[in-house]
Amino acid sequence: MRREIPLIITFVVGITLLSSYFFSGTIPGTTWVLAKVATDITGWGIIVTAFAAGLASVNLIRIHAEKIARKRQDWINSVALVVSLAVFFVVGVYVKHYPKNISMRTFSQNIFDNIYSPYGAAMFAILGFYVASASYRAFRARSFEASLLLGAAVLMMLGSAPIGVLLWNQFPIISGWLLNVVNSTGQRGINIGLAIGAFATAMRLLIGLDRGHLGSGE
């Protein structure tokens, strides 16, 4: 039962939603309108996903609370994490319940604009440095295929930056051709393959052949 019920849930939910793309009217033997049932189930899915968002936070708090309690190395950083999490959560919830409180709204926008948003941007921006370093150290034309990759990348960089046209007026034309013709060809082949693969996986999940998400054991 512990494995069968989940398989039945996946099948019933999946087949109901999939049917709604092909059929209209009521579900045979009932007065339920298929489109309405599909909309309701999708809405329920949104609610379950919202609950799932809490899982990561619960895990995060558990790990860092333990670190703080045992005063492990760098425990002060764990305090920073938990405090930061709590502030963002509490302030957000407060603003939701008291949307007319202007000072709290401003505070909420300020912590977003000056902490979360720029720190997030900085974390991702660091990759810009790594790309430069990797280009220098690892990007080598060691084989014919690697040369194709490298050549396309260099032409793309020269053609897509505004300065490319000043260096040689054919750079943008070449990079445009690479993007719209060659890249489109490769991506389309990959996409078609991906769609077939994803559809096959979806069908395996639907009929219960693929059970990886149930985990091992009972």
Binding site: A121, P162, V165
Partner: protein, 271 residues
């Protein structure tokens, strides 16, 4: 020997060069001309052809804070353009970072005369990825209950213009990942859909532009700069394009230098 040394150059030298090459043109702009791509013109012309009396647009804010420097300026420019054209727009967010970023843009436009709830609405965040996109496509009018500012969405004048998804003249989706164009073209095949993409996602989306499933595309920061130029209001994105050019030049030079050092060293050591 020098070629070997050149291969082991300290990475911090590369980082310093990067900072100099990017910062210098930001402080002292060069003014390199920018050519405008056809996909950017498609977005601009689509919006320009709309009728303010009857048409409503969706600007979906599905971009995270990490990718915001690439996509945010696109949103800024298009929102400003719609405000000038007096075309009302709904802003749903399918990524949690969206609504607070949009709030800044709307506040700026409100100071210029935009009427919240009539000309634009920040609908807030709906979780669920593709399921959320489907829910919005099924019921664009009722799927959001309260907006980001706590107003009841159904009471807002702008929402009276939209009943079903086909009432939307154009959906322009600003995105940094999931949910993104793939989810939209799966769930809303009958909708005129355009994409504001983070530069990294552009190549994968091109086949859908060629097949006309995506009508109009803004390609990263450059797309934003091109849009600003089309509006004849060069702003922050245009200002960064010189730095983008020098950054590219530096990386191309590094690739050439790195390869030269590698192959010359290999040849010499064989001897």
């Amino acid at each position: 020997m020098i070629w070997k040394k050149l291969q082991d150059i300290d990475r911090r030298i590369i980082y310093t060069l990067m900072i100099v090459f990017l910062l210098y043109p930001m402080m002292f702009p060069i003014g390199i001309p920018i050519e405008i791509d056809a996909t950017t013109k498609d977005v601009f012309n689509t919006l320009k052809a709309l009728n303010p009396a009857t048409d409503t647009v969706v600007l979906a804010a599905s971009y995270s804070v990490g990718g915001a420097p690439d996509v945010g300026p696109q949103f800024d420019a298009v929102a400003k353009h719609l405000f000038e054209l007096k075309i009302p727009f709904l802003v749903p967010s399918f990524v949690s970072d969206g609504p607070a970023q949009v709030e800044r843009v709307l506040a700026r436009l409100e100071s210029l005369g935009l009427v919240y709830g009539v000309d634009a609405v920040n609908l807030g965040f709906i979780t669920g990825g593709e399921a959320a996109v489907k829910a919005f496509v099924d019921n664009p009018r009722t799927v959001f209950i309260k907006d980001f500012r706590g107003n009841v969405v159904a009471d807002l004048p702008i929402m009276q213009r939209v009943d079903k998804v086909t009432d939307l003249a154009y959906v322009l989706d600003f995105q940094t990942g999931n949910p993104g164009y793939a989810d939209w073209i799966r769930q809303a095949p009958g909708v005129k859909y355009g994409a504001g993409l983070v530069t990294v996602s552009v190549p994968a989306a091109i086949p859908f532009v060629n097949s006309k499933q995506i009508v109009g595309m803004l390609k990263g920061l450059r797309g934003a700069a091109e849009y600003e130029l089309l509006m004849e209001r060069p702003a922050l994105a245009v200002a960064k394009m010189d730095a983008q050019s020098l950054g590219h030049l530096l990386i191309v030079a590094l690739i050439i230098l790195g390869n030269t050092a590698h192959f010359v060293d290999k040849k010499l050591s064989k001897k």
